[in-house]
Subunit: 125 residues, 4 copies
DNA sequence: GTGGTCTAGACCACT
DNA sequence: GTGGTCTAGACCACA
């Protein structure tokens, strides 16, 4: 986690995205506790409320649960549910938009193949 | 043009993007006049200031010029300059982000090839 | 709206409930604007954020929509959806709990009939 | 006793309510010992302090007494005092709120009579 | 004018 | 220790 905040999006949203990334990358396993609101706030010099708001989003999304007086914990199945939801969103909305954009910009799709295939190779390795 | 506004982005930005789309798709040729602020405002039930702001962005980007008493006109070379700028932005920022996302979601890159190749074929036609 | 806050529940929740009450009682019709965050905050001497949080809850519940730069508006169908949801919740959870409590306290159900019937009469009038 | 904790109310309060229920239902007779703090804590995977807090509430309400080295015991008269207090609370606060809610939701009071009368019959049996 | 976000600092309830 | 709520005051984007 680096403390570099993008100004286009609220910090709490970026924080939420970071935690999601940690879960997807297996750096934050199911059942584990999220770093405490206070700790995160201190580490990044944020207001605890800002951190709280990020965590609350995760609770609302059903990825994290609050255990009163104990902290916030990654729920069982969080990763798989995340993967499924994000993949669905990707295939339904992001990919078509991407393709549309490629088309509109008149970019040679063959140029993209290189980039994309590199990913394939990395995955195979 | 449909009057469906996305809440994630300001309306004036979405309007600007629509005009850009029209130019890229040759639906609004260089030298032609943009629909008047007042017409657009009426059609989409928008505040004229919002429409003005969108048009002003296009002026600031050097794509459109205001001719006093006549309206706004697409400048010569607007399309090619647009293409270049957006392509640069695409290759520098959007493509890497896309590739990163594909990787993180663990999506089989081969599945994407189909979609992308369809574009290639359509372009070739 | 009286400015008497109960200490057992967060103010933003009570505010949300008040707005819901206004909608159910036809004091805030569908399509109408909610009083602005700033106005409510000033009137009740609250922090705008507190009011905002209440309004956000209503948005999340699908009862109210935000029109950017204009304010918050009661959605069409808000009242009927509210009625249905609250009735369902009442019949499913609150009524059984109430009945259970009556039973456990050994209260003569006939005493309740009087109270409840008064409501019936008032409704019929 | 099921170990299903509601998040709207503190666990120690829910625990207290369960014990009260046991007393009202004659499942925990006056003079009997409450299950030990440590047993309850183990059974429900709770912090013993939480259980202690629940028991302390009962002591403060004059329903239970602590006998050093022996445990907690239901006091004589606990049930009748409980009944009186809860009934008073019910008639003063809960019933009016219930009636108000019925009215606002526009629920036909006659439908409620059925439910309530069933209780009467069960009590008569 | 509208709502959204953030900080700094305080107090509270729960475990 | 944990998170939740609120205030006071500031700045921003949008219509």
């Amino acid at each position: 986690m680096a403390a570099d905040w993008n100004d286009n999006q609220p910090i709490y949203r970026q924080l939420r995205d970071k935690v999601v990334g940690l879960i997807l990358d297996d750096l934050l396993a199911e059942g584990n506790a999220l770093p405490s609101v206070r700790n995160v706030a201190a580490e990044y010099q944020l207001n605890p409320i800002t951190v709280s708001k990020a965590y609350q989003e995760l609770v609302d999304e059903g990825l994290v649960e609050k255990r009163r007086g104990l902290g916030m914990f990654v729920l069982e199945g969080a990763k798989s549910r995340l993967l499924e939801a994000e993949r669905e969103q990707f295939m339904r909305a992001e990919l078509p938009a991407f393709v549309e954009r490629v088309k509109r910009l008149g970019i040679d799709p063959r140029k993209l193949l290189d980039k994309i295939e590199q990913v394939g190779e990395r995955e195979d390795t």
